[in-house]
């Protein structure tokens, strides 16, 4: 797949050196969303922050929170994703999150369960196979 990825956020949250990962990095939400097919939001993980990366959640929402006005910059049929759990009114506006025409967040969460199950199945199968090889018994 020929994917192009843009990373949008305040420079205080963008990992250093991200420009060299083959992604475009910007702190301008409008420019970052321009003509995007998929918009993936990420939760502001306050519990992992030591000290202030941003001035306030209200300013974060104002600059980087996904609302209808900002989403206008993306393609008209762009889908909105979010791995959850969401902070409504911080990184995403509630009406966008619940918009059945744009948001695939519910499906994403649902499929997330299946993907996790599949991943665990693969790990467990491999673990069993390895154990069988080393111990010579069928577990």
């Amino acid at each position: 797949m020929e994917n192009r990825i843009r990373l949008v956020g305040p420079p205080t949250l963008i990992p250093s050196g991200a420009e060299s990962w083959g992604v475009e990095v910007t702190d301008d939400m409008a420019a970052g969303l321009k003509d995007a097919d998929v918009v993936m939001m990420l939760r502001l993980q306050k519990e992992r922050m030591d000290g202030a990366f941003i001035p306030s959640s209200r300013e974060y929402f104002h600059r980087f929170g996904l609302d209808a006005a900002k989403l206008e910059n993306a393609k008209p049929d762009a889908i909105v994703m979010h791995p959850g759990p969401m902070n409504r009114g911080v990184e995403i506006d509630g009406t966008i999150a619940d918009d059945i025409n744009r948001s695939v967040i519910q499906e994403q969460v649902e499929m997330g369960v299946a993907v996790r199950m599949a991943a665990m199945k693969l790990l467990v199968d491999r673990m069993r196979a390895e154990r069988a090889e080393t111990q010579g018994v069928i577990a």
Partner: protein, 421 residues
Amino acid sequence: MTALLLQNARIIDPEKGSDEIGTLAVRDGLISGPTGMDDAQVIDCEGKCLAPGIVDIGVKVSEPGERHKESFGSAGLAAAAGGVTTIVTRPDTLPAIDTPETLEFVRRRANDATDIRVLPMAALTRGREGREMAEIGFLQEGGAVAFTDCDSVITDNKGFSRCLAYAASLGALVIGHPQDPALSAGAAATSSSFASLKGLPSVSPMAERIGLDRDIAVAEMTGARYHADQVTTSRALRRLERAKDAGLDISAGTSIHHLTLNELDVGDYRTFFKVKPPLRSEDDRVSLVEAVSSGLIDVISSMHTPQDEESKRLPFAEAASGAVGLETMLSAMMRLVHSDQIDLPSLWRTMSLNPSKRLGLDTGRLAAGSPADLVLFDPDVPYVMDRFKLNSKSKNTPFDEARMQGKVLGTWVGGKRVYKA
């Protein structure tokens, strides 16, 4: 609005670097071409100097919190009488200007109280405490032209670098106070044999260089637009020059007091000479004047800091720092002109053009289409400063009873006359 024709003026144009007799036309609040001015009110300037109004970055108006020291009304009167047409205010008020709401209050108060342009700066961190970032985005949208914690230096480099990185993403100008706060804590003078003989607690001039080195490094790391409020020592000047040569987006100011006075002026503990940073050696002063003349120092500020009698009538080490300067700035700087240390266009480059450019304003110049913010002054007329004649509510000027030269005759803001001598 009526048209205005200022004839027979010695026009000081910092942009062209020119100083010549001519006519300046004003229409609808803007500087205009000289044609079609038949309906204009004509003013004969009698060969006196006409220059862009001064743009003063770092003015303390003590509203909110200490209105008895200075209000927007009194600061506006002082500015008009001093030829200052734009005051860029400091956020070190009580409370600090660190939210969009307090900023809105300041803008409304200023608009009601004076015709002088008042552009507020906002705090970089909440309460100027150096911990949590202020809402730089909201404050910028609300009209804050720059961000500064004033003389409260952010010591946490991690927090400081995040503030600068965040400000950089908004293109916001950050104004720092280059100083090592641990070294300068409690200091009232610059370390020297004079300070020791006087028994004054002092700080090494190196504290400024340490502070500037740190600020330059963080500005380089984050790509922030950085301005040092006051560089006052030759040691720090060399670092400033190196940073500019390296192409960093860094500028620096200095104060009228550091350009005209030195540490010895403190004399017998005269607290009106206590400013922050403290007055420096004569060698430092001379190199500062050279740096202004060469363009290494971009901006001259009055660092107008009103203090009432109670804050100053104390033992030197305990007295408050700061001096009023809005009204004394022009004649203080005439000292440099009359001693041939700088010419008028170069002086106005640092007092009106550069500060305007650094803040992204369209003022501070005489090109057609620019706002007609003007000062008409006589550079030669001598007088003895009487601090009680100042318009400021606070009278703490070190130039009290000093022989001065240069008086403002008229001030216009957007073509409207706001002062007439």
